[in-house]
Symmetry: C2
Subunit: 441 residues, 2 copies
């Protein structure tokens, strides 16, 4: 009988330790990202977990032949660490020997080791398993990881409990046309459009909860901002005094996450030349005032009093940025007609709800608001809308047996990442996007 | 225009700060968990985010009538903090006034405020939105949160990158009978049984990756250890020297998470009287040797040389615990026939794979192993098994264009939590379980 102790004996040196090893011979492993042959020597770039390390092949010190290696070979290199101010890591590695762990069966049809992958978006996504190996491509998803870490860490400091709720849901769930159906052992089931019902239930348990997980929208749109499966950052909080508490919490969460990126993801931010937005404060504007502002500023007619056209979201961004400097804007008090049945109406004007969207650089990245917590109020609202109340028995249980005032939001992680990085398509911030036409890879 | 600054002005004092406020009058909010009337006074238990706080109603200092309040009312209480050694928080609160924020429409049909919820599992799960409010019930999922935090934190220290991969997958995915089907805009799609393909692809990108997310098994079993949707803790790592590296990593991850619980979840561990297992080291045993050991120790006939019977897993636990003291055991070298097409065969014996299960207190909680990384090897293996290789084009892309030796595992979060807490049914460690017959709530 052997025994596992949790200790991995690794002789591998990580790039951040290189400076401690100047003059020594070390071992590193990685994939050969690029070979640039010069006369009498070669630059060999080695792709490791996070960095691409510059190595030198030199006839005087390398004890192997350049012809033995190739791009996308996985290797363990033995190398001498040499000081080199011009390198990002402050050193370069003089390769002495390489042990080859694996070789590709053939060369990639797409060049992945240039500054960027120079191909169509279609190809970029079709060849995801290899195009993601590009230094800039993979940096996108490190930043996405950093955002998640930041959001989670902030919500933990604010005493939110992390939960995991089911994505296969029952008939009475949010409903609407944009929902994927599923045969669940002979019953009709759906894929959750959001963890809405469950996170509300959990407010009755822990007061503050959050979940970062997949959600599903069977929307037929095939636009630059729609995905049919995406990652939603959801939180819900009880004992709010006003729906502004939710917007304050989100503002704090974003501030925290951007600082987290600055501190821990500087390498990727620089590589992608990301300009982080200033978020000292985020202005708010009522929906109807936003509509009027856009109409006035751009001399446009208001066609739809209940919703924004995508073009209007962009114009609102421009005018708000001009007036306040902010790249974020909370739009509040959306018309009740356009909000779900659980949205709390404004007691001062029943036509609007205590709800908001957060727009970031002209795109809606969050929807949130206060929810109805009183049982009678919720049942009446559902009846007004002609809903079958009985179908919602388990949802209404929390209202029936007592719920504090509460509200929350859902933020699209890919949209947020995409706007942060200045991309023009949300697919670029999705590892393996799902859209109407894309199910592979 | 209003402005959000990220600062929430809260006058609410959290329980851990109470000791700083002895003698002062403070405000707290929460749900009234229990009212115990005595003569001339009453104990009022207030359920807050994590603690249940003992408050005293006394005719001499309370400026309201007991009849004004009831269980599951949400309130803001104004109270004086009084030292009280016998209370868990070291203080008790003398209630001066309560502001009622909401009232339930009726009383819960199930008593939730006793030490435990005394009802059938059926009821416990049917009334989940309220039974989870029980102090012990909710402690279970705080511990589950703590485990996730611990796993994530450990994997971050080990330089794993967190990823989010799609759960709607295409035809060529792992397959088998136990898979939920879905109509995806006219195409047949499936719910992912694991992030297997995607995490392997991402090893080519980041070397080490992990994901904690939902997975789906359309298994018809309705047992105490099966769920049709559960949360999988998956990691995958490149540049392994042996499949033992994966087991070492898991051992380290478990050690770290249990220490994290000890440090940050002491309150819940004590409430649930959890005995954390010692995990200094985890023994390993080959599958065939485990079978023989059980046969010998318990004088049983070996009926199935390819798999364990559930009873055998329990017996193995007993004998290993007796011999080594360990409540965990890694069983290694499972027969190749029973492992998936991507499992790496043992070069010394092609009948078995470089794979393992981790058994915890007699239940399989993890399956893992080394994967085939060579393109030709993988294609041959698939052909041997009669698979349609073309369907796997996007999966095989990584092998074709170069992959390091790698492997990983998937751990069932609910199973792990359940065994840790000494439960006899995995549903008890699931917020809203999905089984053959359960889709609601």
């Amino acid at each position: 009988m052997n025994r596992m102790t949790g200790i991995i004996k690794e002789s591998i040196i990580e790039p951040e330790q290189f400076s401690e090893y100047i003059g020594s011979t070390i071992k590193v492993h990685g994939s050969i990202y690029k070979v640039r042959r010069m006369s009498g020597f070669a630059f060999i770039l080695l792709r490791t977990k996070r960095e691409v390390i510059q190595c030198i092949y030199g006839e005087e010190f390398s004890r192997f032949s350049l012809s033995e290696i190739g791009e996308e070979y996985s290797v363990i290199a033995t190398a001498k660490v040499v000081k080199e101010e011009r390198s990002k890591t402050g050193v370069e590695l003089h390769l002495i020997a390489v042990e080859i762990l694996s070789r590709p069966a053939m060369e990639s049809p797409i060049v992945i080791n240039n500054k960027k992958v120079d191909t169509s978006m279609e190809n970029l996504l079709n060849y995801r398993p290899i195009t993601l190996r590009n230094e800039k491509e993979r940096a996108i998803f490190k930043i996405q990881e950093g955002l998640c870490q930041g959001f989670r860490a902030y919500l933990s400091t604010q005493k939110f409990t992390e939960i995991h709720t089911p994505k296969i849901v029952y008939a009475g769930a949010e409903g609407g046309a944009n929902i994927f159906k599923l045969n669940y052992f002979g019953k009709e089931a759906y894929l959750a459009q959001s963890p809405q019902f469950y996170k509300q239930m959990m407010v009755g348990v822990y007061e503050r909860v959050f979940e970062i997980g997949p959600v599903y929208r069977a929307e037929k749109h095939d636009t630059s901002r729609h995905l049919n499966e995406y990652t939603s950052v959801d939180f819900e909080m009880g004992y709010i005094e006003s729906f502004e508490d939710i917007m304050q919490m989100e503002t704090g969460m974003i501030q925290y996450a951007l600082n987290h990126l600055k501190e821990h993801y500087r390498f990727e931010l620089e590589l992608l030349k990301v300009k982080l937005p200033e978020v000292k404060e985020i202005p708010t504007i009522r929906f109807v005032e936003a509509k009027e502002l856009i109409a006035k500023e751009y001399n446009r007619e208001i066609k739809d009093y209940e919703d924004f056209e995508p073009e209007e979201e962009k114009l609102l961004y421009e005018v708000i940025k001009k007036k306040t400097g902010s790249e974020f804007i909370f739009v509040t008090h959306y018309p009740a007609k356009k909000r779900p049945f659980y949205a709390m109406e404004d007691p001062e004007d029943k036509e609007v709800t205590l709800s908001f969207d957060l727009l970031f650089r002209g795109l809606e990245v969050t929807t949130g608001g206060q929810r109805i917590h009183d049982y009678e109020d919720q049942v009446s609202k559902m009846e007004e809308r002609g809903m079958t109340v009985d179908l919602f028995e388990s949802y209404l249980m929390m209202h029936k047996y007592g719920m504090p005032p509460h509200g929350g939001l859902g933020m699209g992680l890919e949209r947020f990442t995409s706007k942060l990085l200045g991309q023009d398509n949300v697919r670029l911030a999705t590892l393996f996007p799902r859209d109407r036409n894309r199910l592979i890879p």
